[in-house]
Symmetry: C2
Subunit: 408 residues, 2 copies
């Protein structure tokens, strides 16, 4: 069983060095008391904490790690670019090369922009839709995460009521609720925002129904509004295009980030010609948005995904983890509720409304070298080979046994 | 005279690959037709365009370059960190080490947060002020730049009226206008936002008067509101603390970015204990905010600034450039209006209301290997030694001669 002595000391210091410890989505306090907060080393699909304990990591940087941490080809391309030019008074031609790569590989894309945060990308999509249509209302799924700016952050603190003006909500996969929201928006509808699939925290994930996706597209066509796909979390995990290409529905604007440069900071906005004028009118920029190392890393990531067949590896490994967890849970007398695509699994326990079993289980798994999350979707990376999945499953045996002892 | 053939071809491609060419503050179209858009190499205080032309660069990545491009010590620290862990499921202890460094070296700082864009940092300051005070109104200087999110971007496109709700304006260094805005805000005042000095585009820069800075501090104390210093552009150019420490006035919250990691993407928010609770309540985060390479680069930047005496080098070199430009302008029959601190110079021509002389001059200077900006403050870096300044001045001779021929 892992000890976390040095991590606990660091957390104590962090509680005053930061406002109240590490903030945001990487606050370990929101995962379990047995999950370390700080890590000293990363490689492939594994992490090492400051005590030297090793974890098979199924959060993958909350989605930024797709090919494996410290992927040699990506890191070499980044280092080669760093040795020449990164953030300067203008971009290197790599920015253009990468934009043209996205315009070629993303079906709806006639133009591309780059930024640094997923929130930058979703915000730029909303601004572009408003600039192009001259309207303000956006229609957003209840409970969906689209970033952490005042207009979209899930927390109410520090948000003024005006920050949420011009927003109406619908329920994911509920066509009637979407139609109602669009009717309420009336002549002011600027955009409908959709996630590629429902990947909200705490609740079962849902792949979009055909009816829902086609209704969203049709409503935007009818109202001359923008269909915005928030592909920040999913881009490159199902396709090198936008994720809704896999179901045959093209957005007008798409926000991508997370894994598009395998951990180097980059966000991508793609759009079609209908929204080119709007995108060219908005003023948006950032101090580091034109830095080339992330562009080099993204180009290398795209090449590696194709050459390594990373999408298939992640699908197969995700399926193997899903089956293996089901079998082991069942052998110990538990039933799991696994939802969403297996590459981005959410694993819940049946009869566990307060996530008590899950919180206990993931804490026990962490103590045995498997980093799982109790209520946020997880991520498989291409370094999670079948052997690594089997090793992780083996390590969960003790966690299931402990769970049985506690709840069986 | 430099040729830009390959740059023009790249710009042609960029006009369709992006919505309308390179966007944001690095769009060369907004500087002059003779300034290249793309660069292939950076080193020290110099850039090379795609044709191989070399420039002494006085924009320094619009402020991200402080020690010189590709500073060996910073890049080595970053590479060493990249070889171990960067963006993962949790931060490395370097995040804590850097936060404690800021808490030690910034006078008002009891806690620190990190993000990726200057806009992230100013937005977090505003959210923190609102969360802490339970009020919404912020008081902002007319024409000041605080980022490119809907609440602050200088362009109107894509901005809904509600995005600018709860804002009142004052004029920089005009105490009466500040008092009037604060009175109008009444019981709803959450914060006053100030720039360390007035560094708006197109107009003369102004260092804050003592009266103005002290009034801003006093008004915030009287109203229990936050004094927010937007130090994004200036941090580390005058002090390793917040820039208003040089005039003896401490803010409650401070946003820094640009040069704090010498070109690696990083934004920093520092705050005092009065605002700790507000900062801990807001939900803000980003996919790459916990990545360690930028933290390693920032620690190395801080050490190098101290050991190289970078602040003094920049001041002396800025003074030398200012004197040299004045002398050369005068010798050719022109009078310059140079304003602001010499490390961040704004150089305008007298009798040049439409910036025609300046546009012509900077284009001619670019053609001779000196990258200047006609209406945005420039930046001196520590690699701009006296020898480099003298070389740049020598190169401007032909530009002044051409200017005399055109306007003399």
């Amino acid at each position: 069983m892992y000890q976390l002595d040095s991590d606990l000391k660091l957390r104590e210091r962090a509680s005053t060095a930061f406002p109240a410890g590490v903030y945001g989505h990487q606050a370990s306090a929101s995962v379990s008391p047995k999950h370390p907060q700080f890590f000293s080393r990363a490689e492939g699909g594994r992490l090492w904490d400051t005590e030297g304990n090793e974890y098979i990591d199924f959060m993958c940087g909350y989605g930024t790690n797709l090919l494996g941490y410290r992927h040699p080809r990506v890191d070499e391309a980044a280092a080669a670019q760093q040795a020449v030019i990164d953030c300067a008074t203008g971009p290197s031609p790599l920015m253009l090369e990468l934009a043209e790569t996205f315009n070629n590989q993303v079906a709806h894309a006639d133009w591309t922009m780059f930024a640094k945060n997923g929130t930058d990308a979703t915000t730029i999509c909303v601004m572009t839709a408003r600039a192009q249509t001259g309207r303000n209302t956006i229609v957003v799924a209840e409970g969906a995460y689209h970033g952490a700016a005042p207009w979209c952050t899930p927390g109410p603190s520090g948000v003024a009521p005006a920050d949420r003006a011009n927003q109406l909500t619908y329920h994911y996969n509920d066509v009637d609720s979407l139609r109602t929201a669009v009717e309420l928006a009336g002549a002011d509808l600027a955009a409908i925002i959709v996630s590629p699939f429902k990947h909200d925290v705490f609740v079962d994930q849902e792949w979009p129904t055909d009816d829902f996706a086609r209704a969203a597209r049709q409503l935007c066509d009818d109202k001359d509004a923008a269909l915005i796909l928030d592909d920040v979390r999913c881009a490159f995990r199902f396709s090198l295009g936008s994720t809704w290409e896999t179901i045959g529905v093209l957005p007008d604007l798409c926000a991508m980030s997370k894994s598009v440069a395998n951990g180097y900071s980059l966000a991508v906005i793609t759009g079609n010609d209908r929204f080119r004028e709007g995108a060219s009118q908005i003023y948006t920029t950032g101090s580091f948005w034109f830095a080339s190392v992330s562009f080099a890393a993204s180009l290398a990531t795209i090449a590696a995904i194709e050459e390594e067949g990373a999408l298939e590896v992640m699908k197969n490994s995700g399926d193997r983890l899903r089956r293996g967890l089901d079998e082991r849970a069942s052998a110990h007398g538990f039933t799991l509720r696994q939802s969403g695509p297996s590459q981005m699994p959410l694993v819940l326990f049946e009869d566990d409304d307060l996530w008590q079993k899950n919180n206990f289980f993931v804490a026990e798994a962490a103590q045995r070298g498997v980093y799982l999350h109790p209520w946020h979707n997880m991520f498989i990376c291409a370094a999670h080979t079948q052997e690594v999945i089997d090793e992780a499953l083996q390590r969960t045996e003790g966690a299931f046994a402990a769970l049985k002892k506690q709840f069986g």
